[in-house]
């Protein structure tokens, strides 16, 4: 089932000199990041470091003050007002998974996954439902299709949210602490799905506090603090032998918990 991973290395996501401030609160200063096709980048760092903000800037949920974002060839310059077509194309290339799932509570699970396909990709209802069922089966949730999200556990809801994003055929999946709102045992279900996704060659950027995932699944680890990237590289190396004092302090705090 697990296909061999193809890593061609061309970047799917490129972020250059991203900066953002809320009023006088500087949240990001000069963040640059490149995510090669088929790779998994994990982002860790203390609370308030700006991890979510970087992720949310990537698909323009948050408007950066300056810098440049390119996903799958669709480039957006923060200085200029984004051209709506380009913005739509960029967002179509990036699937996003949130900490709190953000499923649509007034629609069945199937509709949650099918509606975006119908509206954004213009698929027919039947085509969309077929794709949705295929993904639900892959997530082990085929029996939940006709339920409302509130009837599903947190772990199931998060897998549904992953299916919803995957259904649009994104080139990269962005995860913002996908397991932080879940009990550890339930989080495992979600991490399994993410691991499998990584194995099939999906490009992923994952903000997480799950050190095991960061160490075992990620190809690159990015450590952020105070609005900047302080360290990045091979996960094993950083976790074993962090170069930066701030990283050491953060890892100590996380691992001693």
């Amino acid at each position: 089932m697990i296909e061999p991973t193809i890593r061609t290395g061309t970047p799917v996501v490129q972020v250059k000199n991203l900066a953002k401030a809320y009023g006088s609160n500087v949240v990001l200063r000069d963040v640059s990041l490149s995510v090669p096709e088929g790779s998994v980048t994990a982002m860790i760092g203390p609370s308030g470091a700006g991890k979510s903000t970087v992720l949310r800037c990537m698909n323009l949920l948050e408007q950066p003050d300056s810098g440049e974002i390119e996903i799958d060839g669709h480039r957006i310059n923060a200085g200029r007002k984004p051209n709506p077509k380009n913005l739509a194309a960029l967002r179509r290339s990036a699937g996003m998974v949130f900490q709190h799932f953000n499923l649509f509570p007034h629609m069945t699970v199937l509709k949650n996954i099918s509606l975006p396909q119908e509206r954004v990709l213009g698929r027919s209802r039947d085509e969309a439902n077929e794709k949705s069922m295929e993904l639900l089966k892959r997530m082990g949730l085929a029996d939940k299709a006709d339920q409302y999200p509130s009837r599903c556990s947190g772990g199931q809801q998060q897998r549904i949210a992953i299916a919803r994003a995957l259904a649009l055929g994104p080139r990269v999946m962005l995860f913002d602490e996908p397991t932080s709102a879940l009990d550890p045992e339930v989080g495992v279900e979600v991490l399994e799905v993410m691991k499998e996704l990584a194995c099939t060659g999906m490009t992923m950027v994952v903000v997480t506090h799950e050190m095991a995932f960061a160490g075992n699944v990620a190809d690159e680890l990015v450590v952020m603090a105070d609005g900047g990237i302080i360290e990045k590289g091979e996960p094993g190396q950083i976790l074993q032998d962090p170069q930066h004092e701030r990283t050491r302090r953060f890892l100590r705090a996380v691992l001693e918990r």
Partner: protein, 212 residues
């Protein structure tokens, strides 16, 4: 029997005034909500001012102004028109606030997921925010409708022959005094109780489906 006849004659107008004012209020509330949510300061200020003006003046005064004060060319509003219009625009102000509250009660994540998925604005409103707002608004909306049903009696002050108007006329003519008003009260209750029940039924049904 004469008494019941008087009330029966008033009943359709009570219902008509209520329904028309509610319809006007609902429709007019929508642009006001848009204004209240606007990021343009001037638009926001004007909408805010309009809501406060409409709510700040007693409805009966609005009816007097519309009935006695407004003449467009040779046209003057009839009592029914003035009553419906006056109650309608005042309702719009209250409903705008109710809608605004319901919209802002929808979690930010719904907007974010919609944007991240790449929905157009129209899709977000019609399929994501709109339906959830409609559900959130049911209890407050029916409470308001029941209030409006009773407030429609204000239209009697400019001579709309609804239940209260007919009742007082009957009381004066027959000299039977208070009795007719008890009957009128009973009719109002008969009208509003089913509305309340329907609202609760709807609310529970929708909550069951999408309990959050």
């Amino acid at each position: 029997m004469e008494m019941l006849r008087a009330i029966a004659i008033g009943l359709p107008l009570t219902v008509l005034v209520t329904i028309l004012a509610l319809m006007i209020g609902t429709v007019v509330a929508l642009p006001i909500v848009a204004g209240l949510r606007s990021r343009n300061r001037l638009v926001w200020l004007m909408s805010r001012g309009l809501v406060d003006l409409l709510r700040g003046i007693p409805p009966v005064v609005w009816l007097f102004i519309l009935y006695y004060g407004v003449s467009i060319g040779a046209i003057r509003l009839t009592a029914l028109q003035a009553g419906v219009l006056g109650l309608g625009v005042v309702a719009a102000a209250y409903l705008a606030e109710i809608f605004r509250g319901a919209i802002s009660s929808i979690p930010k994540g719904q907007w974010e997921a919609s944007s991240a998925l790449g929905f157009h604005r129209a899709t977000v409103w019609s399929l994501i925010i709109g339906p959830q707002t409609a559900r959130a608004v049911v209890p407050a909306y029916t409470t308001f409708a029941i209030g409006l049903l009773k407030d429609s009696s204000i239209a009697s002050s400019i001579g709309v022959a609804e239940i209260v108007f007919m009742s007082s006329q009957y009381a004066r003519q027959s000299g039977e005094g208070i009795m007719v008003f008890f009957v009128a009260a009973g009719v109002y209750i008969l009208l509003s109780v089913p509305l309340g029940l329907l609202s609760r039924h709807l609310d529970i049904k929708m909550r069951k489906a999408v309990a959050r």
